[in-house]
Symmetry: C2
Subunit: 451 residues, 2 copies
């Protein structure tokens, strides 16, 4: 949808230029397009055309395109593009992006490319790759502006001018002679300062920083919470290692949300773009939960089996089992989505579970009674007689209240125990309440129908 604000050539236009070998024109055209958009176009083009365009790009653009492109095209580029050129492109990238790129490659290919990189960059990438995935150490860039407290504003400007490629200048971090992080100053303060003012006189001393082992989700929370543009990363002795910037945090959010949504749908998350995952991976991510839920669902079968004589006597009861299971599952699924999101946003936790539960109880009682009335009417329309209609009408509020209770308590307790609450998916709640819903239904029927 962003295309409405950016003019891009169509795939056909690009293909035509390639076919007519109008490389100069193509070159000029590409120079006006943002690398993220070029990457998108490459994803759409047939692979020879994509390769032809990629070869035309200047190194700085090509490196950004490489970073942004989808994993299928990327795989192709790694196979087809000369190793020397690839290494040059990696040298050009921020080292956190280079590390991310290399980590997705087979080890021997990654080692070969690192071997061809500039020694300094190669060393840095190796150090980044030594940190665990999804930690601050892996996400950070070392291109950070580190100042000394006794520098004047004028000296600092000279230093910044000489800096090669600090990824962010929003915050200038101040370190002591042992590289320990002792302060921070927004660039704004530096601009406002007199040329002879020292950094010490304009810096803030309490800097929020994260250790290199900090989990990416925690980092994202802090950055979003305090509206930071960047957060410094320190080692165990408080030495400044690098900085994680807000654009990385946006990517983390995208990733975490994708994982949460897939888990809530009842599957292990695919940790890659949709088309990049192999068939085997897709099957593996789903089969475990399907089997587990299948086994849980046999409990419902057992309940039906238990009530077989009753059902034999009043087979009409079976008409309502999908309605009762469905309504219980739907009410539970609605609640679990709301509660899990509230847990993620730190609104609901074990400490106020009681308050959340009362609230859900009130809502589910109202919803249950409405559904009961509708169920009663529906049963009468099926000519089941008043007694069966009454059983259905009484069952529905019970089932809605019960499934809402489960959907409120289970994720909150899971979160408190350190289990990611998103593993408590809608399908899981539905399956958990199916058997109990049927049990309530048939028990009420047995009690009320005098069979």
């Amino acid at each position: 949808m962003e295309e409405s604000f950016v003019n891009l050539p169509t795939i056909e236009e690009l293909e035509a230029l390639i076919q007519k070998r109008k490389f100069d024109e193509l070159h000029q055209l590409l120079a006006t397009i943002h690398p993220a958009d070029i990457a998108d176009l490459l994803d759409e083009l047939p692979s020879e055309s994509a390769l032809a365009i990629f070869e035309l790009l200047a190194i700085p653009t090509a490196s950004e395109v490489l970073d942004e492109t989808g994993s299928l095209v990327r795989q192709e580029l790694v196979e087809k593009v000369d190793d020397e050129r690839l290494a040059d492109l990696l040298d050009e990238l921020p080292m956190d992006d280079a590390a991310e790129f290399l980590e997705d490659l087979p080890d021997e290919v990654a080692d070969r490319l690192i071997g061809l990189m500039e020694p300094e960059e190669a060393e840095e990438v190796r150090e980044l790759l030594a940190y665990e995935e999804e930690t601050a150490g892996r996400l950070m860039t070392r291109d950070v502006a580190a100042l000394r407290r006794h520098w004047t504003a004028a000296e600092t400007f000279d230093h910044l001018r000489a800096l090669d490629d600090a990824e962010t200048l929003n915050y200038l971090y101040v370190v002591d002679r042992e590289d320990k992080l002792i302060g921070v100053t927004p660039l704004r303060n530096l601009i406002l300062a007199q040329p002879d003012q020292t950094i010490e006189s304009i810096m803030a001393r309490d800097v929020v920083s994260v250790p290199a082992a900090a989990d990416q989700e925690e980092i994202a929370e802090i950055v979003a919470r305090y509206d930071f543009f960047a957060i410094p990363v320190v080692d165990d002795d408080g030495r400044l290692l690098g900085v994680v910037t807000v654009d990385d945090v946006l990517d983390i959010f995208q990733e975490e949300v994708t994982e949460d949504i897939q888990r809530l749908g009842g599957s292990e998350p695919l940790d890659q773009p949709y088309f990049a995952a192999s068939l085997g991976q897709v099957v593996r991510k789903r089969i475990g939960w399907l089997l587990l839920l299948f086994l849980a669902a046999t409990l419902s079968g057992a309940v039906i089996r238990h009530f077989q004589p009753l059902i034999d006597a009043a087979i009409i009861l079976t008409i309502f089992t999908p309605l009762i299971n469905g309504t219980g599952g739907n009410a539970g699924s609605q609640t679990v989505a709301t509660i899990i999101r509230a847990i993620t946003l730190n609104e609901v936790r074990l400490g106020n579970l009681w308050r959340a539960w009362r609230r859900e109880m009130a809502a589910s009682l109202i919803l249950g009674v409405v559904m009961g009335v509708v169920g009663f009417a529906r049963a009468l329309l099926w000519n089941t007689g008043y007694d069966i209609a009454l059983v259905v009408a009484l069952t529905l509020p019970f089932v809605v209240v019960w499934s809402t209770t489960i959907a409120t308590i289970v994720p909150t307790v899971a979160d408190h125990l350190g289990i990611d609450p998103t593993v408590i998916s809608g399908p899981m709640i539905s399956t958990l309440v199916d058997a109990s819903g049927l049990f309530i239904y048939f028990s009420l029927a047995q009690a009320m129908l005098n069979l």
Copy 2:
């Protein structure tokens, strides 16, 4: 979890200080705490203590706390805090935040407070409130550094020093004499420039901007896509109106994700924090979908009714209906979560639906066959005999493939038609496939069992 990196006083410590009336100590303590954390503490404290602490805060801190605090505390503060002070706090906030705050208040309270604000700020807030909710116009701040192309770097520094409170200095926007946006320069370029170089010589001419009416979701996509720290907002004539910064984009992501997850759970999204929504709102957001899904589920009842003679003859068949419905629903729910996320990330769309469908077919065939084998074994364990076990074993692959197909095609087509695909929830897919799953099951049974 971010608490691990920040030292905060406990609620008890704060309450003790208030009770002992140690306001000086409290004042000093509060000065060391980030406003976002103070806001959190206020959310936890009893309302008199929260009010006492709020009154102790200096205006700049108090205004940020007001902006960050939960809606329940906020409501209380609006009632208890003097109007004059509230107006002062609003004057201090970035005007986009002030507008957001005022919009949640009853109209007469908002009007009263705007009347008490500084005339200039009041005017700006009124202008922001004139834009639609969730658009660029509403989210932007007008505190933006606008330069002229003929200025030198030295003049620009002087200008920046004189600027009162530009929200971002990452990008300096260049406008012509009619305020039309003509260029942009990263602050970094300005620092690297010679004092007598002109802005024109260092600026880039193609600036990505959004119109004031642009939807917040589009803005978030662009900012995330191009790794921007901010994006300028222009009117219909291309005049620079303001800027939307990346911290607002992070908030948009949080909001949109919350909405998506609630919709996927089968409910209308609550557009407020969990505890801030009233009981009536919660019920209204859920009842529509519950009723609609209930009506759809009566179709399953109709299928069962249709096969009543068959069921009468082989009542054992009913044991498996929850297993079959559950497995179909779960497979559909897994797929819909994956596909909807892929649609949101622009990976799947109508143009490559065929490719996505083939992929899902392959996965669901494998999953279906595995489930069929497991179902066969489970049936034999229940001593149903080979014929019934075979019916179950054959039904499961059909149901899994069918529900996966629905879950792949329906959201993609909805998206193409301009319908938000997240309204196609897991519960909706389950309900849609329930009736057809039962139909497949009983039809196969009828054909194979010779009853």
